[in-house]
């Protein structure tokens, strides 16, 4: 980025993490604080929107304060205040948006509303400060599965998305079915380490056609298999299910790179924290001669550093977001 560096405070409250971070110029993370609410939602087997919204209100002051202290930055040192304004849970988004606008009002710094999906794509740039578009990105989480061609900063083409369940949703549902608890992604990842990923040939939905995804049939296949084979090893089921999801995700990401002629691939979102996905993608992208960026786990799951990172680019390109704007739960990327 050129010009005077921008120091941005980012706030993220779109789902079940309350987060704040300070990032310089979209690349240099001074602090990144994440208060996870996973414990609050665990007994319900998924994120409960009303509980998430309430927890954000309780946590927001401390998370902001800690992000400033850890960065060694005062409010007056900030050049912009950013928050996720969509997509996400309506009641949850409002907390971060309200907090950011209040800080913007006090400091006089511009407010920047950020698209959560876009932020997941920028997380890789916090890991690799030399990374620049064009690049092919896969954003996979409990809420979304998106394959996006990033032609430049702020310039996106959605190449594929899920037609039913998100990848992370499939992990959660299968984990719940197998009695592995919530959140499902880390639980399956852990159990799968002890299992044989080739034990059960679960279907690879829509593997051959296009760049869209479908995961609900795979979940059904797991359920049917367990009903027919009640004595099957849970570790083998978890490993085989995970292998099927990873196969589909990696195959389509690499196919997207091939079809767009892009030579860089990156991943983001909670599912990008999956160890099998990371290993497989690194191997295959290397073999295909592609540059691949697999950000550390803390940058894959929801965080505010990625929000602050996007905001620096958006502010320079588009200017501030008006203070009379709200949240858009179904905000689209492009």
């Amino acid at each position: 980025m050129t010009g005077v560096p921008l120091r941005v405070l980012g706030i993220e409250t779109s789902c079940d993490e309350t987060a704040a971070a300070v990032v310089d110029d979209g690349r240099d993370t001074l602090s990144s604080v994440v208060a996870s609410q996973a414990d609050l939602h665990a007994r319900f087997g998924g994120v409960v929107p009303e509980i998430a919204s309430r927890a954000h209100v309780e946590l927001i002051n401390d998370v902001i304060a800690q992000a400033l202290v850890e960065a060694g930055v005062a409010l007056g040192d900030l050049d912009a205040i950013a928050a996720t304004h969509g997509p996400g849970l309506a009641g949850a988004l409002l907390v971060g948006v309200s907090a950011a606008k209040a800080l913007a009002l006090v400091t006089g710094a511009p407010y920047v509303g950020v698209n959560h999906h876009e932020a997941h794509m920028y997380a890789a740039m916090l890991d690799d400060p030399a990374l620049e578009p064009p690049m092919c990105t896969l954003v996979a989480s409990g809420g979304h599965t998106l394959l996006v061609a990033m032609d430049g900063h702020g310039s996106y083409r959605v190449l594929g998305q899920t037609v039913d369940d998100a990848a992370g949703e499939a992990f959660d549902k299968v984990a719940r079915f197998l009695g592995l608890g919530y959140p499902g992604g880390p639980a399956i990842d852990r159990v799968a380490l002890e299992g044989d990923p080739t034990a059960i040939p679960f279907p690879r939905p829509m593997l051959a056609d296009g760049l869209d995804f479908s995961f609900s049939g795979l979940k059904t296949a797991v359920v049917n298999y367990v009903r027919r084979n009640p004595d099957a090893e849970v570790a083998d089921i978890a490993a085989s299910f995970q292998a099927a999801v990873v196969d589909v995700l990696v195959t389509k990401l690499l196919r997207a790179a091939q079809e767009t002629g892009m030579t860089t691939v990156v991943i983001g979102g909670g599912v990008a924290a999956n160890s099998a996905l990371r290993t497989r993608l690194l191997d295959e992208a290397d073999a295909a001669g592609l540059r691949v960026v697999v950000p550390p786990l803390a940058l894959c799951t929801d965080n505010a550093a990625m929000i602050a990172a996007v905001a620096a680019y958006r502010l320079r390109a588009d200017g501030p977001t008006p203070l009379d704007s709200g949240a858009t739960p179904n905000l689209r990327l492009a």
Binding site: R43, F44, V48, E50, I51, S53, R54, H56, V57, E58, I60, N61, D62, I64, A65, L75, A90, G91, L94, V95, V97, S98, A99, K101, A102, L103, A104, L105, V106, T107, L323, D324, S325, G326, A327
Partner: protein, 236 residues
């Protein structure tokens, strides 16, 4: 001493500046019975900005923030309470949280009868509380409650006292209260929590230094989430 006062417990977005002499300026957007998506997140911060600018001061002159914490509309409460909490944190001033039902009851303390604020809680339920006149003011009897409209009418019928019912719930369910003997409806000017009451009650607490740190202020929901309610009634 200058107070910023915020009430977003109904569909109305209300902001006021005031001090020991009362309200200096106020801005209210929307009515309690408006339809359409709520606009608290869009309207509140610009309203505060406008009010502060027009009154010729800056935010740095504010010495405390009074905020209506509910009960009321969840979306509104989250916007209002979060905004107040973060403004308080950034300005390094304390918060004075006040219950919305108190703000509905207080302006009617001259009524000389029971005062019963009733707020729409949706699903044919209401938030309410009963207040009785005492020398120099009004005093709540019993808890802040959530219940069916019929719970309130039954309680009033059983008491048989003169009562004045106010709030957006009174407007919405006017016909249920109109049938009761000795019960009057306060009318639409008492449909939303009073910003003047918010300033007046907060000034009194300010003088008694009844402050709360921004991080410790939470909305008063009175209703738990459906997931928690279902959890308590799950099959064993």
């Amino acid at each position: 001493m200058q107070l910023l006062a915020i009430d977003t417990s109904t569909r109305r977005v209300g902001v006021a500046l005031g001090d020991a002499s009362g309200v200096q300026a106020l801005l209210a957007i929307g009515g309690p019975c408006d339809e359409g998506p709520p606009r608290h997140a869009e309207e509140l911060v610009p309203a505060i900005d406008h009010l502060v600018r027009r009154s010729g001061g800056g935010l740095d002159r504010i010495s405390a923030i009074a905020v209506s914490i509910g009960p009321g509309m969840f979306t509104g409460l989250r916007v209002g309470v979060t905004t107040a909490k973060v403004l308080g944190q950034a300005l390094r001033v304390p918060l004075i949280p006040i219950v919305s039902l108190d703000l509905l009851a207080y302006p009617l303390h001259y009524a000389g009868s029971l005062v019963v604020p009733v707020m729409d809680a949706r699903r044919h339920e209401v938030y309410y509380a009963l207040y009785q006149p005492v020398p120099g003011g009004i005093q709540r009897i019993g808890n802040y409650e959530m219940g069916a409209v019929e719970d309130v009418t039954a309680e009033l019928a059983a008491r048989g006292q003169e009562a004045l019912v106010c709030g957006d719930g009174a407007l919405r369910f006017a016909s249920a209260f109109a049938d009761l003997d000795r019960v009057d409806l306060a009318g639409s000017s008492h449909g939303t929590p009073s910003l003047a009451a918010l300033v007046e009650l907060a000034v009194a607490r300010y003088e008694r230094e009844e402050f709360v740190a921004p991080a410790d202020v939470v909305p008063l929901y009175l209703r738990r989430s459906d997931a928690e309610l279902a959890w308590d009634h799950r099959e064993p």
